[in-house]
């Protein structure tokens, strides 16, 4: 009987990567000096299950590599080895190597043998068993010369509950040896009345007689029950000392360690195609579907009705509104299945900050809050890179060197706060540092140098800070490998915009900066306001609408003869004639005949002129890019109730379009004047 193991690979990788994350965070805690036995145990267990799994699936390279890590961890666990910074560093390095190996196996690419060998040597160095090859070969031979082995196998009482069968193990041992003598110790067997059939009370001593059995083979048999039994293996011939499990034929050890700069992490974003869902969410779905079925059967009764009376119509209406409610709830529950806690994106930061702070010689404390905040899986996967960039940025540019901090009267250790929370239908992620804050003058002079703003231009602080999101902008004096290439912040903004979100920065000189990212809860559904312009129907996201109003002619002001602004209470808001920008023939071009919809995006407000407001509904967002391409000013399309397509307006993009439009008309006027 053969089982196709391939089908479990996905799960194995998923679990292994989870295990690696657990190991990583555990190791980071260790490094901070919190030596906690439970923590070491957790790390050990993760390593152990990765080893077990990879052995089962035949990824022997991974199993071999993990084995050494495990040995080292085991020593730490038993208190035989002091937990030191250097050991933790090496273990962290091995976590990286392991992750790369698993990535390589999953993607079917080459394993970076050199980095594996290098780390193996480092671990073995610590284990103090950097045996020369010749030695290990001779030892191997002497071992093979042994006549056999005595195996003391004392399983824990609940070994059978984990699905292991002691008899099978012994049978497997038997297949190794030429001759087997098994002695069973049933001293602890209770009275029949007290006997639990699922418990294992016996222990065994097994003499394996045969010339070519290696200790490794025996351990292999017990690989799955390693931590569920007391196992002692002795050579039969001479009373050999306990031989640790470390000795293995590892030909890679012979290679001299080569120093190479290897990428610490695979650059490929691990966008997994499967999702782990909390069982309660699934139950909720099943309940909703149940309700839906009941409503449906109630409604279907009306189909059999011969004629409709007033009363049946009333009931039909009730039923339909119930159906609507259930459909909406079902939709929300389905959406919730896609929601995952943001900790998946946050968990890499302790490590990142740890690595970077030593690179920059800065002392940094990372505070993470709101890890439980849930957001859409797609958003979660795509927000990772922009977040990394922002955190790196805060670390590199924001937090000052310890000396400078002391000079400024702050504590030596800088603080970076990473938080996530809900706010008005949005997810907000904040990256806050207590560093020097953005340098306004430096940004302005840089912007002028790059020609992003004109020489004599004056602008409010917020707009100055906003300049850092412009393409080609970087104020770093030295280009480091972390930041300063000027491709950072504009990409961050673009990525976040692609997710339908926005990013802004606030900064106080000497006190630090706050980057705020706002993201929609989900990418799939949007509350839309339908508006009519000429024959076309467009959709505005309700969330960006501040108010809709009828035009009072006296409030319209023309600025410089071209741009129109509307005075709304104390504000002047530019009027955007959508038909002009989108080239549509409107019902009327007179502002009096239509409506203004005041919308806001990224702190900017505009008043969009439309012919009519048509109603609000939830719309399912479809991408235009699937079959076509991105259109400026549009975030997607949706299908209305009558089957036609309506386009969804991207407010931030529309503001950009409007500003470009204005700029080009100014240029053309200037051109005409010259």
């Amino acid at each position: 009987m053969s089982i196709d193991l391939e089908q479990f690979h996905e799960t194995f990788f998923e679990e292994s990567f989870e295990g690696l994350d657990i190991m990583e965070s555990g190791l980071l805690e260790l490094e901070q000096g919190e030596v906690d036995l439970e923590n070491i145990n957790t790390i050990f267990r993760s390593a152990h299950s990765i080893k077990g799994g990879s052995g089962t699936f035949g990824f022997s390279a991974v199993a071999e590599f993990t084995h050494d890590m495990e040995t080292l961890l085991d020593q730490m666990r038993n208190g035989e080895r002091q937990v030191s910074v250097s050991v933790v560093e090496i273990l962290l390095g091995s976590v990286d190597v392991l992750r790369n190996m698993l990535n390589a196996i999953r993607d079917g690419s080459e394993i970076d043998v050199d980095s594996v060998a290098e780390t193996t040597v480092a671990i073995k160095g610590i284990l103090g068993q950097e045996n020369t090859v010749a030695d290990s070969v001779t030892e191997q031979t002497s071992e093979a010369a042994a006549k056999g082995w005595i195996v003391h196998f004392a399983p824990f009482i609940d070994i059978m509950k984990t699905g292991n069968d002691t008899v099978r193990l012994i049978r497997e041992l038997k297949s190794l040896a030429e001759k087997t003598e098994v002695t069973v110790n049933s001293d602890s067997l209770p009275l029949l009345s007290e006997l639990e059939p699922e418990n294992c009370y016996q222990s065994w001593v097994i003499n394996l007689i045969g010339a070519d059995i290696s200790e490794e083979d025996i351990r292999e048999v017990f690989a799955w029950v390693d931590d569920e039994c007391d196992l002692k293996i002795e050579a039969l011939a001479e009373e050999a000392d306990y031989i640790g499990p470390e000795r293995r034929d590892d030909d890679r050890r012979q290679k001299p360690p080569e120093r190479r700069n290897t990428e610490r992490r695979s650059t490929k974003s691990a966008e997994s195609s499967s999702i782990r869902v909390n069982i309660s969410k699934v139950d909720e779905l099943i309940n909703m579907v149940g309700e839906l079925v009941i409503t449906q059967s109630m409604l279907s009764r009306f189909g059999d009705q011969e004629e409709f009376t007033q009363a049946t119509i009333e009931r039909l209406k009730d039923g339909l509104s119930q159906l609507e409610g259930h459909t909406r709830e079902l939709q929300e529950s389905v959406m919730r299945v896609r929601m995952m806690p943001i900790s998946f994106a946050f968990q890499r930061f302790p490590r990142l900050v740890h690595d970077l702070s030593s690179t920059f010689n800065k002392k940094i404390e990372l505070i993470v809050t709101g890890e439980g905040t849930e957001l859409d899986k797609t958003v979660l996967e795509k927000i990772g890179d922009p977040l990394v960039h922002l955190v790196r940025n805060s670390l590199d540019h924001g937090i000052e060197s310890p000396a400078d901090r002391v000079k400024a009267g702050k504590s030596e250790t800088g603080v970076i706060e990473l938080s996530a929370f809900h706010q008005g239908g949005n997810i907000v992620i904040q990256i806050k540092d207590d560093g020097a804050g953005l340098n306004k003058n430096k940004i302005l002079s840089k912007a002028k140098e790059k020609g992003l703003v004109s020489q004599d231009e004056r602008m409010p602080d917020d707009q100055v800070y906003d300049l850092i999101f412009r393409p080609g902008f970087s104020t770093a004096d030295v280009v480091s490998d972390v930041s300063g290439r000027g491709v950072g912040m504009d990409v961050v903004r673009r990525n976040i915009r692609e997710l339908g979100g926005a990013v802004e920065v606030k900064s106080t000189p000497g006190e630090g900066s706050v980057f705020t990212i706002r993201l929609p809860l989900t990418l799939a559904i949007l509350d839309g306001q339908l508006v009519g312009i000429g024959d076309e129907t467009y959709i505005l996201p309700v969330i960006s609408i501040i108010e809709s109003l009828q035009v009072k002619t006296e409030n319209i002001n023309a600025v410089a003869g071209n741009a129109e602004v509307y005075r709304l209470r104390d504000e002047y808001i530019p009027i955007v004639r959508l038909y002009k920008i989108f080239g549509i023939k409107p019902v009327s071009t007179d502002l009096k005949n239509g409506l203004l919809v005041v919308v806001e995006a990224e702190g900017k407000k505009i008043a969009i002129y439309v012919d009519d407001l048509l109603g609000q509904q939830q719309v399912v967002i479809k991408s235009l890019e699937t079959n076509f391409k991105k259109i400026e000013g549009l975030s997607g399309a949706t299908i209305l109730g009558d089957g036609t397509v309506a386009l969804i307006i991207d407010i931030a993009g529309l503001i950009d379009l409007y500003q470009k439009d204005m700029a080009s008309s100014v240029v053309s006027i200037k051109g005409a004047a010259a």
């Binding site: 076309e536 920008i581 989108f582 080239g583 549509i584 479809k622 991408s623 235009l624 699937t626 079959n627 076509f628 391409k629 259109i631 400026e632 000013g633 549009l634 399309a637 299908i639 089957g643 036609t644 397509v645 309506a646 386009l647």
Partner: protein, 170 residues
């Protein structure tokens, strides 16, 4: 199509055949690989997309997918013709390198026929003046004394899309 079934089979063993769906555009007959045709439907109203070239008529909903519709006459700068009863939209699968397959529709004057053409009979097109750029032509096939221009739709529809990008970045 005077060959009997056996003869066809005999040919099949040595020749590779390709089925073409042909359509009319400004009096010329064009062919596309029939395996790429997803469906053929009558002209119906579309949703305009702002700031795109005129030949992109807009988008329609095909079973939940948003599909762009391209007018072939406008694409190749032919004289515009009123859409009538024979005007159809051919929905095509477009394969582009490095990207997922896309679905696009093209508006043509009328569909004509389906032909089985031996691949070797599709001759390279000479550089002469068909309405369509020779760049987008795979070759010419002769069927029943008629000439059919075989189109490279992948190239054509990716180029059409690229043209939009160019225009926007100008």
């Amino acid at each position: 199509m005077s060959e009997s079934a056996e003869e066809l089979e005999a040919h099949e063993s040595e020749k590779e055949f390709k089925e073409l769906l042909t359509f009319f555009l400004a009096g010329e007959e064009y062919g596309v690989d029939i395996l790429r045709v997803q469906e053929i439907k009558g002209w119906d109203s579309v949703t305009n997309i702002p700031n795109t070239p005129e030949y992109i008529r807009g988008v329609i909903n095909i079973r939940g997918a948003i599909v762009p519709i391209i007018d072939m006459r406008l694409r190749f700068m032919l004289e515009m013709k009123e859409y009538d009863a024979t005007t159809v939209v051919i929905i095509l699968n477009v394969v582009s390198k490095g990207n997922a397959d896309r679905i696009m529709g093209v508006v043509v004057d009328a569909v004509s026929d389906v032909y089985n053409v031996p691949v070797n009979d599709v001759k390279a097109s000479p550089d002469f003046g068909t309405a369509v750029d020779t760049e987008f032509v795979t070759g010419l096939a002769t069927i029943d004394e008629k000439m059919i221009i075989v189109l490279d739709i992948d190239h054509m529809l990716n180029a059409a899309e690229l043209a939009v990008v160019d225009k926007m970045t100008e």
